[in-house]
């Protein structure tokens, strides 16, 4: 986990980020961050209870990580997402994915129709196939188009089309996705692990965090 996290941080920092004070962008607030996660991961009543308290509401543990407002001063505890947010989102991405891992692929936004069809056909399992079962499939063994689809679909889910990402002016979507793919292929890992890494890299970006 530690090794994986370091790898992610290196990938993350190499793409260049700017802090809140260095831009006129507004970061999403603590409540919005959580609402966005529940929307992206399609959290519903059944999966909600599996998510840890620190990932679904503001608690004493995550207040400063999420930029909670200090009611004494009227200002956010931290002015921009920092290493605390990185720790929080690392933990919570895994937590959210784990909470939805038993759901049928058909009900998941996280996997595109193309990939769903591929996985079902490859394993010859019908609707029962879920993310948990994807843990047995290695990302590098997927056909290249499914590898790309996996990255493109999740990217679209978080950022929208490439043009949205590009207009922030921080990085080029194509270069970014190519870097993510290269990073995933460096080491053998399951589709579930790959999903974790991909989502984590997206959810740390300014293009997600700000507007």
């Amino acid at each position: 986990m530690k090794k994986k996290l370091i790898g992610i941080i290196i990938l993350y920092t190499s793409l260049g980020q700017a802090s809140f004070e260095e831009n006129s962008r507004r970061y999403m607030s603590y409540g919005e961050l959580i609402s966005s996660l529940t929307a992206i991961f399609s959290i519903d009543e059944t999966t909600f209870s599996y998510i840890s308290q620190d990932c679904k509401e503001v608690t004493a543990n995550n207040k400063s990580d999420l930029g909670y407002n200090n009611s004494l001063t009227g200002e956010a505890i931290v002015s921009s997402p920092n290493s605390g947010y990185l720790r929080w989102i690392s933990n919570c991405t895994g937590n959210y994915i784990a909470s939805i891992s038993t759901k049928s692929l058909d009900t998941l936004n996280l996997v595109s129709k193309t990939s769903q069809d591929y996985f079902k056909s490859a394993i010859r399992v019908a609707n029962e196939l879920n993310l948990y079962q994807l843990a047995s499939i290695r990302y590098e063994t997927l056909p290249p188009e499914i590898q790309d689809d996996f990255i493109n679909h999740t990217f679209y889910l978080v950022f929208g089309p490439d043009e949205v990402f590009n207009q922030f002016g921080l990085a080029d979507a194509k270069v970014f996705k190519a870097e993510i793919k290269a990073h995933l292929l460096k080491t053998s890992r399951s589709v579930l692990e790959a999903l974790n890494i991909v989502m984590l890299n997206y959810l740390m970006r300014d293009e997600f965090l700000s507007y």
């Binding site: 409540g31 919005e32 509401e57 949205v164 002016g169 997600f208």
Partner: protein
């Protein structure tokens, strides 16, 4: 090669800064700004289809209308308003089901009022003028009322709650949460929206020393954008200590230590004692805030744990850019009515929405500000109408802009100078500035005037000596600039005191 592509990408981005954004980015901004979530896959696809059918404008307009009526929007607005009043904001986003009833937090009259204003798009003035309240209270497993006791003093006797009788009738094992409403006469002078809620009054507690000035300061800050820095610390980090302990450790009023008792028995005695060692309250500088805090604080005079059934007269007094306001009021209800009639109130609330939906550091020209005020008035001061207008403005639709080093420096310097201006704003100063506002860069079109003003700041803060011999702020001020803040100002002036666009005010 990869770096070359990235360089070319950044170059092409930099050449097109400030351009209008694409529809998909606009949808993203709308969704995040109004709902606080990313758009759904379906919405993105619908927008693509609308673009093909040339109905994208009406689709996006429909989204603004839809988003501003969602529970997400209400939650977001509630959070922003909570933060504005500096009450602890809600911690649970809406629309997330809670499996346990015990997680339900009883809502106070403040919560219901703010939610109602947003949900029903009531006039923004209702924050001050509303006369109706709803609140929750638990009957079992324990008696807990957010506001029932708070209002009972001013309700008719027939409305008084017989708690004992109710508790006797309550079942033994079922938690009961009840909702109750109280409606006061629209002309009731004792009632003033959020100001007469327990949450507001408890947040800004009255003490023998502050005499409701904390509440008055909150009113000035929240509704007139006049923030003040307390010269006397209200609390220390040690929660055991009170104002009296801080000011006079040996006071019999403040200390529980019997050996530390003195002969001081009354506040007047304490004040006389304080003046021997602490000049606060006797210096003209202190009156920069007290002349307006004291009369407004009096309107809260009779409100402690519960509301009083009598009004407490006071006055709305302040100065702003040589414009003086001095309005005696019979109580907090009339105070609220007078506040919403002030130009400074409208300016402040328009700027508040601007900060929330466009960005605090996005400058407004005077012409633009006046347009916004007209729009705010034309929309009946209804928040959803005004927000819907704001998110359709060119300022909202502009793509994210990377700031230059000088632009960042101007924003950082502005934050520090705001602290100075908070105390100096009421001074009658004619420094040939375009406006008496230390954060309104550039100060003047004339370099020599800017140069003179910057020298005054430099000298007052002794920036050359890193603040070692500074005259300002005075020693009794609670705010003392940190070394980092002094460095920011020093660097800002050394760089020619750039304005928000990065243009130097002096060479």
């Amino acid at each position: 090669m990869k770096h070359l592509i990235y360089f070319l990408f950044i170059l092409s981005s930099s050449l097109s800064w400030g351009q209008t954004i694409s529809n998909q980015l606009y949808l993203t901004k709308l969704s995040k700004a109004l709902k606080g979530t990313v758009p759904t896959l379906a919405e993105r696809q619908e927008l693509d289809a609308a673009e093909s059918a040339h109905t994208d404008n009406s689709y996006l307009l429909g989204k603004i209308s839809e988003y501003t009526r969602t529970a997400y929007f209400q939650f977001k607005m509630k959070t922003l308003i909570d933060e504005h009043f500096r009450v602890n904001a809600s911690v649970k986003p809406l629309d997330i089901p809670s499996p346990y009833n015990f997680n339900y937090a009883a809502k106070s009259s403040y919560d219901y009022l703010v939610e109602k204003i947003i949900a029903t798009n009531m006039s923004w003035d209702s924050l001050l003028l509303a006369k109706s309240y709803t609140y929750d209270f638990f009957k079992y497993p324990y008696y807990y009322s957010t506001d029932k006791d708070f209002y009972k003093n001013i309700l008719n006797s027939k409305d008084h709650w017989d708690m004992e009788a109710d508790l006797q009738q309550a079942p033994n094992s079922i938690p009961i949460i009840l909702k109750e409403s109280v409606d006061f006469d629209p002309q009731d002078p004792r009632i003033a929206g959020v100001l007469t809620t327990s949450r507001f009054l408890n947040r800004y507690q009255n003490t023998a020393l502050n005499k409701n000035r904390r509440r008055a300061a909150a009113v000035f800050r929240s509704f007139l954008c006049d923030s003040m820095v307390a010269a006397i610390p209200a609390k220390t980090t040690d929660s055991e200590k009170t104002d009296f302990d801080v000011l006079l450790p040996a006071s019999s009023l403040g200390s529980s230590d019997a050996s530390a008792k003195t002969d001081i028995k009354t506040e007047e005695q304490l004040r006389r004692e304080l003046r021997k060692n602490d000049p606060h309250g006797t210096l003209p500088g202190c009156m920069a805030c007290h002349y307006k805090l004291d009369p407004l604080g009096k309107t809260f005079g009779l409100s402690a744990v519960g509301l009083s059934d009598k009004t407490s007269p006071g006055a709305l007094i302040y100065k702003n850019n040589n414009h003086s306001v001095n309005i005696p009021v019979s109580g907090v209800g009339e105070l609220a009515e007078k506040i919403v009639q002030q130009k400074e109130y409208v300016d402040c609330q328009v700027n508040l929405f601007w900060k929330w939906f466009i960005g605090q550091d996005v400058p407004q020209t005077t012409v633009r500000h006046n347009q916004l005020i007209t729009q705010f008035e034309n929309s009946g001061r209804r928040p959803i109408d005004f927000i819907s207008y704001l998110v359709q403005t060119p300022e909202f639709k502009i793509r994210p802009v990377l700031l230059t080093e000088n632009q960042i420096l101007a924003r950082k310097a502005s934050k520090v100078l705001k602290r100075c201006y908070d105390c100096h704003k009421d001074q009658d100063i004619n420094l040939q500035m375009k406006s008496w506002d230390m954060t309104d860069f550039p100060y003047s079109d004339k370099t020599e005037i800017n140069d003179g003003l910057l020298k005054q700041i430099n000298q007052a803060l002794d920036l050359e000596g890193d603040g070692a011999s500074r005259r300002m702020p005075p020693p009794e001020s609670l705010w003392q600039p940190s070394p980092e803040e002094l460095t920011i100002l020093k660097t800002w002036i050394a760089n020619g005191a750039p304005d928000y666009t990065g243009k130097r005010q002096v060479q």
